[in-house]
Symmetry: C2
Subunit: 441 residues, 2 copies
């Protein structure tokens, strides 16, 4: 009897919980779901056999330690800063560890200890990072086996709305952590194109766009995200000429979002305080120069010279030009903006979300250079069973399942870029309807 412990049963754990709870029905496994709210956790287990909900106060180290003691494998769905704490305890108690988050430097420092104890730690096994790694490595390894050379690799991913739910001018609602959406892209993005290193500061990011097209659903804005350069070694593509990882938004979103970036409204580095009753119009005005004779709209037009009607419409829809009040008047500009958007970009109960991922390879062989486009489209069912929860949770659930079935025998700390890990997961994902369509041109 093996025991799986899931720490944190939030929004993105729906599919993870269902899959692993179902896997316990054969009788040789048990699932413990520990959450701040044990009643909600219990509901999510739907009374399935061999499952149990427990209360989790993650700051309490003895409670945490006791929970981990009761498990064979631990899946952390906690906020990213908690992973190293949980991972340390897993090492101490010799438990295997799974997460969908980026493998932090703090985590990487534990690598040797994990290997020395013969444990399996798998990070970055969600959607992005996760499915992106696995699906890319599948194609990269395939090309290498054929003796082909990958000279260009661009990979984009976005958590978006299904077209039928795109009922606002932004064609966007929050399908994951709103704070991360508001702060997306801060820092400097790095990539390489035709052998030239490229550095993109945040305030140029939403201008450095590429149009990404998927036949079934149309056009998207793709912008470079984080440090693509470091993935050259992760993917074994050290000498590649072009390597770019990016994020997708529906076409037109980025030009409008860039207004917030240009004005400084996504700034999270300092606190402001406005009087109660301050309007969105006054809020945006605090990022514009004082000019006695000009309206907010006119000043905005001067600061953002390419402000056109599609941009204007999006801002107006959020209420920036009327007398709508700020829902929150104290905090960083980013927090105030987030409070505005959380009202207007909330997913309705029957909204459907959509995950889009596209890899674009240029592959050189004896026959010349061919272009390979590999695309994933995944739709959510509603605001609970989202495509986001599915694509983040299922890879992780399948990884745990395959590991407990003995299909993954490698040990040490990994991200899913080796065949032994990604192959069984991709096969199972395909059975769950998460599959890529490949097209050569």
């Amino acid at each position: 009897m093996k025991t799986i412990l899931i720490l944190g049963g939030g929004k993105s754990a729906t599919y993870l919980i269902d899959f692993l709870a179902d896997s316990c029905q054969s009788g040789d496994r048990k699932l413990i779901l520990a959450d701040l709210d044990p009643v909600l956790a219990s509901k999510k287990l739907k009374g399935k056999q061999n499952t149990e909900a427990k209360e989790l106060n993650i700051e309490n180290s003895s409670e945490r330690s006791a929970l981990i003691a009761s498990a064979d494998v631990v899946v952390s769905m906690l906020p990213a800063f908690m992973h190293p704490v949980v991972a340390q305890e897993c090492i101490k108690q010799e438990k295997h560890f799974f997460s969908a988050s980026y493998e932090s430097e703090e985590m990487q420092k534990m690598k040797e200890e994990v290997s020395a104890k013969g444990l399996f730690f798998l990070n970055e096994c969600g959607l992005d990072p996760g499915i992106d790694h696995m699906s890319a490595m599948h194609l990269i390894d395939q090309a290498k086996e054929k003796g082909e050379e990958i000279i260009s690799f661009k990979s984009y991913c976005g958590g978006l709305l299904a077209p039928e739910s795109e009922d606002n001018p932004w064609k966007y609602k929050f399908t994951w952590n709103p704070r991360n959406v508001v702060l997306a892209g801060q820092g400097t993005s790095r990539y390489i194109e035709k052998g030239e290193l490229k550095f993109v500061p945040y305030h140029q990011l939403y201008k450095r766009l590429e149009t990404i097209r998927l036949d079934q659903v149309g056009d998207f804005d793709g912008y470079p995200n984080r440090d693509s350069l470091s993935y050259r070694s992760v993917y074994g593509l050290e000498n590649i000429e072009t390597m770019l990882r990016g994020t997708l938004r529906r076409a037109g979103y980025c030009k409008a979002w860039d207004v917030f970036v240009q004005l400084g409204m996504t700034d999270d580095s300092f606190q402001v305080e406005f009087p109660t009753g301050t309007t969105l119009r006054q809020f945006i005005n605090s990022f514009l120069p004082y000019e006695k004779e000009l309206s907010v709209e006119e000043k905005l037009g001067k600061v953002i010279p390419d402000l056109d009607f599609p941009i204007f419409e999006k801002l107006q829809w959020l209420g920036f030009f009327g007398d709508k009040k700020l829902p929150q008047t104290k905090g960083s500009p980013a927090q105030l903006l987030q409070a505005i958007l959380e009202k207007d970009w909330a997913l309705a109960a029957d909204d459907k979300d959509m995950i889009v991922m596209q890899h674009i390879f240029e592959i050189k062989s004896d026959q010349g250079i061919k272009k390979l486009t590999s695309s994933l489209l995944c739709y959510g069912e509603d605001a609970i069973y989202t495509a986001m929860a599915k694509t983040v949770g299922l890879p992780l659930a399948i990884a745990v399942d395959q590991f407990l079935k003995g299909k993954i025998t490698v040990r040490g700390m990994h991200v899913p870029v080796i065949k032994e890990i990604y192959q069984p997961i991709l096969e199972q994902l395909a059975l769950e309807g998460i599959r890529f369509e490949e097209k050569y041109s």
Copy 2:
């Protein structure tokens, strides 16, 4: 016999040392100048009586403690991060403390202890901060005494070149810490105008310009700097409608500097490494998109739509469009840019610098609203006896002198905004030729 200890005898200490060394000639004072390089320190004392050079290894706490033990007042000309360490030791040993740097939060925490021990700690007593505070408070107090109300206060300062030394298209050379010049303005600037709070992100800063004119020397770009809002309470102007502190550059500089800001070349947050032999052209290209058909110049024109000939000329003069090599290929973009500029913006031995400061007040009285412009112009003699060293060092030297003469009797931790402190310093500065010209309009 009182002993003055100066810690650090760098470039900006020239006038400070001369003034305080001269003040020791009457025989009731002694000056110790402690520096990393005691030979250079000794030279700077010019063999004057009652002066002594000592070696300073500031990281060595017992050496530092022994030096401080030998003094009555300590003047710290060390890098800003060292001030709190020195200040703590001064509190322990009950010594008075003087610096020209911003009073950090860490420093402010010592306030009570300083008062309790009856010590005098004076911070922000250089040029900016320093002369700006004193000259402003002089006029603010004057207005208040007359029962007038200050409704607007803008204050600008710049460390620039005397017109005769403006022999490059930027009309700029380094007259103080180059790193601070390259990073100038990072963060978010804050001010208030006609009652409206204004927040300016770094990437808008060099566009938020005001033209500042001084009859004798022409036009300057003024841009808002740091948090002007916090000075409302420092200056006792809590209800003022307009309050802005800013930095001056020669007219035209900001538009060109903004190119570096827009491209991300002043980014100090990450490390890059280029191959040896990389040209400035390739360096700037790494901040531009890849576009096969376009030259660096053409791409730059697309990213910076208002790039005109005066901007182009400035970049070209630095060598960005030719095959000049990067003097440093490893570091943050800001460090690489600094290395380029340090070569081209070095002060020649006979270059003269210039300090410009201008306060612009709008003052309301029974007679209506009048505008008061108070301007300071101060020229350097050469690359050693700079106006920067004079205006940073003399206020501090005079403060120490006046304190030792018993003209300043207040105790506790202060910045020079109270009359008892600023009045004797301003009077003495005027005798040294540092005086403001006032003009009503």
